[in-house]
């Protein structure tokens, strides 16, 4: 990891009126790494990813994209720079076919004089091909997304982002609503994406999922980072403790015992 990070955020602060949601968070992603952002509910994870994907502008702090200071004015601007976000429940439209979802907003067209029609032959072929690369066998490109499992939907959304040139892929809790087997599939997809040299920001509150694919780990607690650790430098217990705000997990166990 000698290259410059694809995206680097330095001392990000974000205030909403009197509320300080983020209080000096630093974070970076290199090409071909999975950087896990861990945190309990309310830790500021979603504010942070929204800052990274251009939804919010930071109150203070600096964002560098491939080493250059950048202002991310909108999600569209972030997307143009190769920062793609896959939101947990907003990835796909269940009633539409996989192809229609895959190309939504960026449909390939064929021209017939002044009329522009979707090039379905091309769209279907590319969709099936990209799905196959991610290990999903579709019945057909016109299969409705609603008939896919939750894990497969996440995978379609990830494949879509990768196809459209994502350099950084921000995954917002991609495994939190999934069962064991589907989680394994999504984690495998993340590993595949990393192999293509894309930087992955994997947001989760499940330490086990993070440890399974992560290269680096950053824990967010009450709007602050408690440091970043490399793979192998930290274990399950330590991460879990940091997420709970440094409190001993034992105190949790006590609370359970008392109940």
């Amino acid at each position: 990891m000698t290259t410059t990070p694809i995206i680097e955020l330095r001392d990000i602060e974000k205030h909403f009126g009197p509320v300080i949601a983020l209080n000096g968070v630093s974070f970076s992603v290199f090409p071909g790494e999975v950087h896990c952002l861990l945190g309990d509910n309310g830790a500021g994870k979603s504010t942070f990813i929204k800052t990274m994907s251009g939804v919010h502008q930071p109150t203070r702090g600096e964002i560098l994209v491939e080493g250059r200071p950048t202002v991310l004015e909108s999600p569209r601007e972030a997307m143009r720079l190769g920062i793609a976000t896959v939101y947990q429940d907003l990835a796909m439209i269940p009633l539409m076919s996989v192809t229609r979802n895959f190309w939504m907003g960026r449909e390939p067209v064929k021209r017939f004089g002044p009329i522009k029609l979707i090039d379905f032959a091309h769209a279907n072929r590319v969709t099936l091909e990209e799905m196959r690369k991610m290990g999903i066998q579709l019945r057909g490109p016109d299969q409705a997304v609603g008939t896919l499992s939750g894990g497969e939907r996440q995978t379609v959304a990830i494949a879509r982002a990768v196809h459209f040139g994502a350099k950084v892929l921000i995954l917002d809790e991609p495994t939190s609503a999934l069962g064991v087997r589907q989680t394994a599939n999504v984690l495998a997809t993340i590993a595949r994406v990393r192999k293509q040299g894309i930087g992955v920001v994997f947001i989760t509150h499940n330490v086990r999922h993070a440890l399974a694919v992560g290269d680096r780990f950053t824990v967010l607690n009450r709007g602050q980072t408690l440091g970043t650790a490399n793979k192998g430098e930290i274990d399950y217990e330590a991460l879990q403790d940091m997420m709970a705000g440094g409190q001993e997990l034992a105190s949790l166990e006590e609370a359970v015992a008392e109940a």
Partner: protein
């Protein structure tokens, strides 16, 4: 990653997933039924076909607009009032104020589409349900129509449009008939009958295809291609399916929705203009309940009330069923009030079936 527990889908269940399947079956049943019951009443003669064909075309024109709008996730309850309003604008501008009819027609289209855009703009700006916003426009437009017609002409029915339209270049696009020669030829070779008495003796009983039908077919083809073949069509589905998800992938949801409100207003004005040209007059109470009839056609055609799912072909078949049954009951001499009973029943059946279809697709329980 294929889930081996996913049951293979039977071809029947797969066919159920086509939105317009119910409408195709319905159309088939309706035709078989009336063919058996009303064959001897002249319902399937050239004249009879023209009779229910024109009614179906009327429904189709407004159903196409309502259909695209519903797929984009919104309703327009002001369609009926818009029909009354547009017709009255033509009569006031063209007859009461004495401007050329082409100018009156263009004014009606411009005003109606502007009001459609305002409806849409309010809906996307406020985030209120379009049901409420357009319910308000239903009353506002109807009241304005009556007010304008009384203050301009002291009456609620304004005639004289036919005289005013004499020799106009634009009016025949809405009031005329096409393929007259073909029908004369068909009468000559005996395929269709001719009048035997009266001033029109020797002329074919059907003397052309009314522009209402041409518009209906044109709008169906246009909307079908737009919806299924173009990027904009994909955005219509996406906006209705999940506006937030669509926005995140860069679909201009607001623009899509507003333009569908404008298109619905356009369809209502086509209807109004054809009707005014046919009757030679405008009346302030025209188009009453048309918004609901349009929505019923669309729902019979398999579209979901919640948006994101449906077809133009389905809506057109819904209009056809509507037209055939309404006029079929007339041909068979059944009490016409029963038509409303039929409507209610078929609407209920269609909605239940559509909900089932939705569950099949999304796997909800």
């Amino acid at each position: 990653m294929h889930d081996e527990r996913l049951k293979p889908m039977s071809p029947l269940r797969k066919a159920m997933l086509r939105p317009e399947l119910g409408a195709i079956c319905g159309t088939f049943l309706v035709f078989v039924f009336f063919f058996l019951v009303a064959r001897d009443t002249g319902m399937f003669s050239a004249e009879g076909v023209m009779n229910w064909g024109i009614v179906a075309a009327q429904f189709a024109i407004i159903a196409v607009g309502a259909g695209l709008l519903m797929i984009a996730g919104e309703f327009d309850l002001s369609v009926g009032s818009m029909i009354g309003f547009s017709g009255m604008v033509i009569a006031i501008v063209g007859v009461a104020w004495g401007y050329p009819i082409w100018l009156a027609i263009l004014a009606a289209f411009a005003l109606a589409m502007l009001i459609g855009a305002i409806n849409g703009w309010i809906v996307v700006k406020t985030g209120l349900p379009s049901f409420i916003v357009t319910l308000a426009s239903l009353f506002i437009l109807r009241g304005l129509t009556i007010f304008l017609s009384i203050s301009a002409t002291r009456q609620t029915i304004v005639g004289g449009v036919r005289d005013a339209a004499e020799g106009d270049w634009l009016a025949p696009l809405f009031g005329g008939k096409v393929f007259g020669g073909l029908f004369v030829w068909l009468a000559d070779i005996g395929v269709i009958s001719t009048y035997t008495r009266g001033t029109r003796a020797g002329e074919p009983v059907v003397d052309g295809i009314p522009m209402m039908m041409v518009w209906a077919i044109g709008l169906i083809v246009f909307a079908h291609v737009l919806l299924t073949k173009t990027p904009f069509g994909n955005w219509i589905y996406a906006s209705g399916g999940d506006a937030q998800a669509a926005r995140y992938t860069g679909v201009p949801v607001k623009r899509v929705k507003v333009s569908m409100f404008v298109f619905t207003a356009f369809c209502a004005t086509v209807f109004a203009t054809c009707q005014v040209m046919e009757f030679g007059s405008a009346a302030a109470d025209r188009g009453l309940l048309k918004e609901f009839e349009a929505i019923i056609c669309v729902v019979i055609g398999g579209a979901l009330l919640t948006g994101g799912y449906g077809t133009v072909i389905g809506a057109a078949l819904g209009a056809l069923i509507f037209g055939v049954v309404q006029q079929g009951l007339f041909f068979t001499g059944v009490e016409s009030s029963l038509f409303r009973v039929f409507l209610g029943v078929i609407l209920l059946l269609a909605v239940i079936m559509n909900t089932y279809t939705r569950r099949l697709i999304t796997g909800e329980r």
